[in-house]
């Protein structure tokens, strides 16, 4: 198993938004997509996904609909709303800025200003 990294606060929400940005997914598929996107590096207890989905839906960033999964099972599909898409854009920009700053900071060596 790959090493586990604890999720920073807010990262799970961002990952979910990213995961469903390419099309509607049910909960389990969101999990798989996140695993795939992060190369399995970021793992959460699987149940923790659902409160996050509920929270995002409550905030109006996601909308949900019951549908049928690839193996003919009833499942709830989540889709990004317009507000969710905006949020994803903002958060991504914010995250990239932070990541760039962090990695620059961490690469700094003595002598460099």
């Amino acid at each position: 198993m790959p090493p586990r990294a604890d999720l920073l606060p807010g990262t799970l929400d961002l990952l979910i938004l990213k995961a469903v940005s390419l099309g509607a997914l049910h909960g389990y598929a969101v999990l798989l997509r996140i695993e795939q996107m992060t190369g399995g590096a970021l793992l959460v207890e699987q149940g923790a996904l659902y409160p996050a989905l509920a929270r995002l839906e409550h905030q109006g960033l996601l909308e949900s609909e019951w549908g049928v999964s690839e193996n003919n099972r009833r499942a709830k599909f989540y889709r990004l709303t317009a507000a969710g898409r905006r949020r994803l854009k903002e958060e991504t920009a914010g995250w990239e800025a932070l990541a760039a700053a962090m990695s620059a900071a961490l690469k700094a060596r003595a002598g460099e200003a």
Binding site: P51, H58, Q59, S69
Partner: protein, 902 residues
């Protein structure tokens, strides 16, 4: 925001759906994961186990999902409510007391508030009432502005006169030139008119209105049409718009009423429309039945040139501001226009342009509100105070229950309930009590809604208000309930939950020796209740004494076995000799009825039925004169005999003292004292309205107004002056009210078109005159007694609880030799401290506050020592009684059993 609300609402209202969705969604996840593991070669059981393991705590995540949707608070509220209901069922007496207390308190407050709303706050049911303004003018030399002013006015602090009536030409000029108002309209005063419609005659309230009245108000007819400018022309036919109330009363709500002709003051008038139901006119509290165009002023007995006479200021003016025009701009423009309108009329030398103000007209004209403002404030204060006492009382009871439940609360705290959670739980309980009480209270208020306005009006006419319950009121009651709930519960909740979990569990609660300090909060509440109760008792006492003084004072006449009623034949076209003769015939016809001893009539009824003072000049024997004011009262023969006013000297008026006979008058003793220095006035002369009359008799003093001392009065035979309405008085040999039917029948035979009104016994008439005082006496003393009972309950409860808690201590004291009387004294002393503190505070407040009432009192000073001390003594005695019961119980404590409790 919207998405949250709708998602929350889905959660609240479709809760079952949400729960099954949640379960199904997670179930699907688990199955798909298990499938994944099975595909990896694990057994079915092992795959399912692995899936569950990876998922984590199913219930925990479900709960987090609910929480994410904002539903946890609701769940807790639900369980708190269930818990509170269980607690309430467990203590039914406490619950009943608390709910009843709150029902009375909230009910009384809602009822009074509904009245405040109807009288003081409610806007007219017209289009955009916020745009309406009423014109008002202020002047130091108002006589120079309005030569002949007819309408309401008042003086202000700057010694100016504030007035609301305008001359019609002034109104017309402003209307035609104003750029700020889209519509400007005027109306006369509300007058009584005689109406006969379909063989039925009655006295109704009519008002002359200008052609723009309805357009300016933005009011459409419910039936037919309203009046327009075309109806207000000199050649327009006589038409009328009637009120919904009149339409229902006189025509039984017949939809075919439009086009019917009725007779208003004998003139035929055609009904063109009916106003909508909630519209009672523009004067709050005084509903209008008939609205007639100004041009028909002759029907209303207005002087014929009232529309052209620039010197006669008699109409009130309202207007609708154009949208976006600032009030100040409109005011300045109107002020200029009013000045311009006056100047061509040739103002007097001392004339200064009056200042014009624009009052808010959205709630109707202002004057009606003054009369009710003080009484309403007093009632609001009294009912507000009772709500405070009720809150304090329930807070005290909850405080004690909180103390008794310390162990339970400590247990819950130990099991992990946060303090906020515990406080919320106690608050849920008190709010639930308040909501239950409030619900009952609204029913109480609903029952009272027709009673209070009738009781409030100081004179005989009922006050006309639209008292239908409104959403606004329910909002008020709901708010009152919630505030009450929080106010009652907060202190007890904080106090009860302050105790540390460990502390309360490790030591026994009941039976522990504890000083009175432990109940500090309860004692403060008792002191507070005592103080408020005392203030209410003092106010109630003052009002009761006012009522008794008014009812028992000598009025100067005998009200027993007298029946009074009024007629106004001038409205039916009777005048001069025919009018005198009509009234004489009424007297003769009624006098011939069996059971009638004497009949008479007079211009005004007594008491409080009108009568104004005029200038009189009395000429003494030596030729010197003295001038002053006196009531002038117009009477028929046998007036003094019928009313039981003693004739001290000379003779009564007789039918021979007619219109053309030499002028005669009787005077009362007050006049004789003041103008004739006590010498007999008979045979001397008095001059009134510029005409000299011989004094033919001297009579006893009569009070025309209940709150005045008798003033100089001149009695004139009624045919010797012009008359309008007459008040008839019938002295009967038996119970007077039984004659009402035969009187009506006899007079219908005389002229069925002249209505009889205000038929009642003289004693009812007096009761009506002092009705406001009676209402205050009953209401405030009732509220005070309620407060007293509540305070006693508080004292009793606090003390009884303290005795239970101190059983051990008392046992120890008794074991150490304290005897029973000493224990009783000790407990009583303890209870007396907050009572005395409350009494002292209450006395200070009562002394300072009762001055506000002085204008409403009669024959008693606001700082009346007897009332103050009497109230304090009553309160102290009741408090002692309430304290005595628990202290007696304390003295019965058996030392041994008390010690065994530990």
């Amino acid at each position: 925001m919207l998405s949250r609300l709708s998602s929350w609402a889905r959660g609240v209202f479709r809760r079952d759906r949400l729960e099954t969705d949640l379960a199904e969604e997670m179930e699907a996840h688990l199955e798909m994961r298990a499938e994944h593991w099975r595909a990896q070669g694990l057994s079915t059981e092992e795959a399912a186990r692995r899936a569950r393991l990876e998922f984590g705590g199913l219930d925990r995540y479900k709960d987090e999902c609910r929480q994410a949707r904002g539903l946890r608070l609701l769940d807790e509220l639900r369980s708190d409510t269930r818990y509170a209901l269980r607690q309430m069922r467990r203590a039914p007496v406490f619950t009943a007391v608390a709910v009843t207390t709150l029902a009375l308190a909230i009910g009384a407050n809602t009822a009074i508030f509904s009245l405040v709303e109807a009288v003081l706050l409610k806007t007219l049911p017209v289009a955009r009432p916020g745009e309406l303004r009423e014109l008002q003018w202020t002047s130091r030399r108002w006589k120079a502005v309005a030569k002949n002013y007819d309408g309401a006015g008042r003086g202000n602090a700057a010694k100016e006169v504030v007035a609301w009536s305008f001359a019609v030409p002034v109104f017309a000029y402003v209307r035609d030139h104003s750029a700020s108002f889209s519509d400007l309209f005027s109306f006369g005063g509300i007058t009584r008119v005689s109406v006969s419609a379909g063989g039925h005659a009655e006295l109704a309230k009519g008002q002359l209105v200008s052609g723009q009245f309805f357009r300016g108000l933005g009011l459409d007819a419910a039936l037919g049409r309203t009046l327009g400018p075309a109806d207000d022309g000199p050649a327009a036919p006589a038409v009328v718009v009637v009120s919904d109330a009149f339409w229902r009363r006189a025509f039984g709500g017949d939809p075919g009423v439009v086009g019917r002709t009725i007779h208003v003051n004998t003139a035929p008038v055609t009904i063109v429309g009916v106003t909508p139901r909630g519209f009672l006119g523009v004067k709050p509290g005084d509903a209008v039945d008939l609205m007639v165009p100004m041009a028909q002023l002759r029907i209303f007995d207005e002087p014929a040139d009232s529309l052209e006479d620039a010197g006669r200021w008699w109409v009130r003016v309202m207007g609708r501001l154009r949208p976006g025009v600032p009030t100040e701009q409109a005011r300045v423009e109107t002020e200029t226009l009013v000045h311009q309108a006056i100047v061509p009329a040739g103002p007097a030398n001392e004339y200064e342009p009056p200042r014009v103000d624009l009052n808010d007209g959205g709630r109707g004209i202002d004057t009606a509100r003054w009369a009710f403002e003080t009484p309403l404030r007093v009632m609001m204060a009294a009912t507000g105070a009772i709500l405070l006492v009720a809150c304090a009382n329930i807070a005290g009871l909850l405080l004690m229950r909180g103390a008794a439940r310390q162990r339970e609360i400590a247990m819950r705290a130990a099991l992990g309930a946060g303090r906020a959670r515990l406080v919320r739980q106690v608050l849920t309980e008190s709010t639930l009590l308040a909501v239950l009480g409030g619900g009952l209270g609204v029913l109480v208020a609903y029952a009272l809604r027709q009673v209070i306005p009738v009781a409030l009006r100081p004179v005989a006419n009922p006050i006309d208000l639209d008292m239908e319950p409104r959403v606004f009121l329910f909002a008020f009651s709901t708010l009152a309930c919630l505030l009450t709930g929080v106010a009652c519960g907060l202190v007890p909740a904080l106090r009860a939950t302050r105790v540390g979990a460990k502390l309360a569990l490790t030591r026994p609660v009941a039976g522990r020796a504890e000083g009175p300090r432990r109940l500090g909060g309860g004692r403060t509440l008792v002191a507070f209740q005592v103080a408020v109760s005392l203030v209410l008792l003092v106010a109630g006492g003052l009002f009761v004494r006012t009522m008794v003084n008014l009812r028992t004072q000598a009025m100067g006449f005998q009200p027993e076995r007298l029946l009074v009623f009024q007629m106004n034949a001038t409205l039916n076209g009777y005048a001069e000799d025919r009018l005198d003769d009509f009234y004489r015939q009424v007297i003769e016809r009624v006098g011939a009825l069996p059971g009638v001893r004497t009949v008479t009539c007079s211009r005004y009824g007594i008491p409080d039925q009108g009568a104004t003072r005029f200038g009189v000049k009395a000429t003494r024997d030596d030729g010197t004169t003295s001038e002053g004011k006196a009531y002038v009262h117009y009477v028929a023969p046998r007036y003094f005999e019928t009313m039981g006013v003693p004739l001290r000297a000379g003779r009564d008026v007789s039918w021979t003292d007619g219109r053309s006979a030499s002028r005669v008058a009787l005077v009362n003793q007050a006049l004789a004292r003041q103008y004739f220095a006590g010498a007999s006035p008979v045979g001397r002369r008095v001059e009134l309205e510029g005409k000299s009359a011989e004094v033919i008799g001297l009579v006893g003093d009569v009070k025309f107004y209940t709150r005045e001392t008798p003033l100089p009065t001149v009695y004139v035979p009624y045919p010797q002056s012009s008359q309008r309405s007459m008040t008839f008085a019938v002295k009967t040999s038996a119970e007077p009210s039984v004659l009402a039917g035969s009187i009506r029948a006899a007079l219908a035979a005389l002229d069925p078109d002249v209505p009889i009104y205000a038929l009642r016994t003289q004693e009812e008439q007096i009761d009506l005159a002092i009705r406001q005082a009676r209402v205050f006496a009953h209401l405030v003393s009732g509220v005070a007694v309620l407060a007293l009972l509540l305070a006693c309950l508080g004292i009793y409860g606090t003390l009884a609880y303290s005795v239970v808690r101190r059983t051990t201590e008392i046992g120890v004291r008794m074991a150490l030799g304290a005897d029973r009387p000493r224990v009783v004294l000790m407990v009583l002393r303890e209870s007396l401290v907050p009572v005395l503190a409350g009494l002292a505070a209450g006395l200070v407040v009562a002394l300072a506050g009762s001055r506000v009432l002085s204008a409403m009192l009669f024959g008693v000073e606001p700082n009346d020592a007897r009332t103050l001390l009497g109230s304090a003594a009553l309160l102290l005695a009741t408090a002692l009684l309430a304290a005595w019961l628990p202290s007696r119980r304390a003295s019965r404590v058996e030392p041994m059993s008390a010690l065994r409790c530990e």
